[in-house]
């Protein structure tokens, strides 16, 4: 049985569509990340699930039970909102214990659970403080602890790490992952950061403009996206996406010629290439002029103009000096790394093959 199911769920605000016929099934015990650009509808999807908004159409099932019109209190879902929403008039302990206090749990049980969760998130020393005495990261951990307090089957975390500094985010991501494994419950997590999505997710749902673009296991979605928007949204640096005309079963991009998959007959297609598949510095290839170089420490991201097309390349920085701007580099592409997408539907059509084999 699925832990959560959305069946043709729609929602509009003042005539503006936020979610359009969303159908999504989330497996029990999975860590599913809903990834999409801001305003894609991620928060709306989660707010519908926890009961803070009402659907305009469709059904929401929780472990097979229809909860579409059930009040939030009857849904028993752990929720960490995007803003911390820690009660300023309560201590950290009372904030974390809040869901259990509300449910009328015995005091000893509350103390035991709060201690255990606080220990897990390393916030035991903060218990007597009030939220205004905490740093951003500490507030976030307290909010997460409160969200996890409930004895819920599903936990919903709405972009809980947004705005935190990178180091802290990285640490909290590890903690969350560990927590998911320990609790063995279903996690739904929203983010617009694809690195966060890839780090945490077992499966990723790509959401854009209120529609689900793709739902697949994280690594499959990265390696073989079935939609050009998935390729664009999930991955850093951004993938190279080029709109090109076809000519009798072949395409050329940045001076390279490739053969299209056999059944592609469209007059134009979209080509997608991950930056790590754009190799720089080999002896064979096309020459390109370096436009921008970003040295990220462990990685170099390079933007090169090749035959009128700008290609992004990402490669490990070890033992390599970054080329200077305006210098000429040799860029090479393997045909099997070039993904072909339908220009109208955005669907994946196949991968290129070498033009010479034709």
């Amino acid at each position: 049985m699925h832990a959560v199911e959305f069946l043709s769920v729609s929602k509009a605000f003042r005539g503006k569509t936020a979610l359009d016929q969303v159908t999504l099934s989330v497996g029990e015990g999975s860590f599913t990340v809903v990834c999409g650009p801001p305003k894609a509808g991620k928060s709306v999807l989660f707010r519908l699930l926890v009961g803070l908004e009402q659907t305009d159409g469709g059904q929401i099932l929780l472990a097979g039970r229809d909860i579409t019109h059930a009040p939030p209190s009857e849904r028993n879902i752990g929720y960490v909102p995007q803003s911390f929403a820690l009660y300023p008039h309560m201590s950290v302990y009372d904030n974390i214990a809040y869901p259990l206090n509300l449910s009328g749990a015995p005091r000893e049980e509350i103390a035991r659970k709060v201690d255990a969760t606080a220990g897990m998130l390393s916030i035991t020393h903060l218990m007597k403080k009030t939220p205004d005495q905490l740093s951003g990261g500490e507030k976030q951990r307290v909010a997460v602890a409160r969200g996890l307090m409930k004895d819920a089957k599903v936990f919903v975390l709405d972009d809980p790490l947004v705005g935190l500094d990178y180091k802290l985010r990285e640490r909290l991501m590890d903690e969350l992952k560990q927590l998911c494994e320990e609790l063995k419950t279903t996690f739904l997590y929203a983010t617009s950061d694809s690195l966060e999505a890839l780090t945490l997710a077992q499966s990723i749902v790509v959401l854009e403009k209120g529609r689900i673009v793709e739902h697949a296991p994280a690594i499959d979605l990265y390696l073989q996206p079935q939609h050009v928007r998935s390729l664009d949204i999930v991955g850093f640096p951004r993938a190279n996406i080029v709109d090109v005309p076809t000519r009798s079963g072949t395409v050329s991009v940045a001076g390279f010629a490739f053969r299209l998959p056999q059944d592609v007959k469209a007059p134009a297609v979209i080509l997608g290439i991950r930056p790590e598949h754009v190799t720089v510095g080999r002896t064979e290839g096309r020459s390109g002029r370096v436009a921008i170089v970003e040295h990220l420490g462990s990685e170099i991201v390079l933007y090169a103009d090749c035959d009128g097309t700008q290609l992004t390349s990402a490669y490990p920085a070890s033992n390599v000096t970054a080329p200077a701007i305006d210098s000429t580099v040799t860029v090479s592409l393997r045909p099997e790394d070039v993904m072909v997408f339908d220009r109208d539907t955005g669907r994946f059509l196949g991968r290129c093959t070498p033009a010479a084999q034709a």
Binding site: P72, I77, P81, A85, Y87, P88, L102
Partner: protein
């Protein structure tokens, strides 16, 4: 001019202005310890033998005083507590559910306060007489509460708008009822607003004379009523009575404002500047 000198100069000016404003209050308090001839002496006597006769006169010989003091306290505190409670619920509704025409309704509410008292006194008087509510404590409390509600709603709405709805949502998701959210989640966060609304309104009701005089009566008379009626009772201005009564009369609001002045400042900004209170 150096910074310290300028700061000192500011302080001197502030002290002088404050003393000028405080001098009538000081005069009335000093007068309450003077005999009638000392009060009326020319030039005014700054050195005199203090006497408690005026207070003894007020508490022992003036039979109406304790009733008037009790009425002032009961009418103002009860009416304002009711008003703040009702206003808090109304402001919560305006702030959270935003019924259609909220802005217009808020304007209408405030416009009640723009109406001068004498403009409504006649219809209110006729209504109270018709209902048989004249000289009735409960009726007076209801009237003062009614008069205090619009301004309180205004103050409290500002404060409630400043409390994120995310707090409400966290409460709802965790199984809290609306009553729980209103009183356990939101109310503690608008305490400064509640106190500010309470102070503003209690000052109004505490000082209210006109309606007490017209729709009140013998059993509901408050201190402003006593002051207005008693000031001339002796044939001329009864300064010993006025000074003693006024000194007692200003004490509760002064103490109140002294201890809660930070809330008063917050209230004046309608919750837009919340600060550390």
């Amino acid at each position: 001019m150096s910074e310290t000198l300028r700061a000192r100069l500011y302080h001197v000016v502030l002290w002088i202005v404050s003393l000028i404003f405080f001098s009538p209050v000081a005069w009335i308090i000093l007068s309450s310890f003077k005999t009638r001839s000392d009060i009326l002496a020319t030039p005014p006597k700054l050195i005199f033998t203090p006497t408690l006769d005026n207070y003894v006169d007020l508490f022992v010989n003036n039979r109406g005083f304790l009733l008037q003091l009790g009425n002032s306290i009961i009418l103002s505190v009860t009416a304002v507590v009711i008003a703040v409670f009702v206003s808090f619920l109304a402001a919560f509704c305006f702030s959270r559910f935003k019924p259609k025409g909220t802005d217009f309704l808020m304007f209408l509410l405030l416009s009640i306060r723009m109406l001068p008292g004498p403009a409504v006194i006649l219809p209110v008087y006729l209504m109270y007489v018709a209902f048989g509510w004249k000289d009735n404590h409960l009726a007076m409390i209801l009237f003062y509460a009614m008069f205090s509600i619009p301004f309180s709603v205004w103050i409290l709405k500002g404060f409630l708008d400043g409390v994120s709805t995310r707090f409400d949502e966290t409460g709802r998701v965790n199984g809290g009822s609306w009553l729980h959210i209103i009183f356990r989640v939101v109310l503690p966060q608008v305490k400064p607003g509640l106190i500010a609304a309470f102070i503003f309104n209690i000052i109004f009701v505490w000082n209210e004379f006109l309606f007490n005089f017209i729709i009140g009566g013998v059993s509901t008379q408050n201190i402003p009523y006593a002051l207005a009626v008693g000031a001339y009772s002796d044939g001329g201005l009864n300064w010993t009575f006025i000074s003693a009564l006024t000194s007692i009369y200003i004490l509760p609001p002064v103490l109140f404002i002294y201890f809660f002045q930070k809330y008063l400042l917050v209230g004046m900004t309608f919750g837009t500047v919340r600060g550390e209170v």
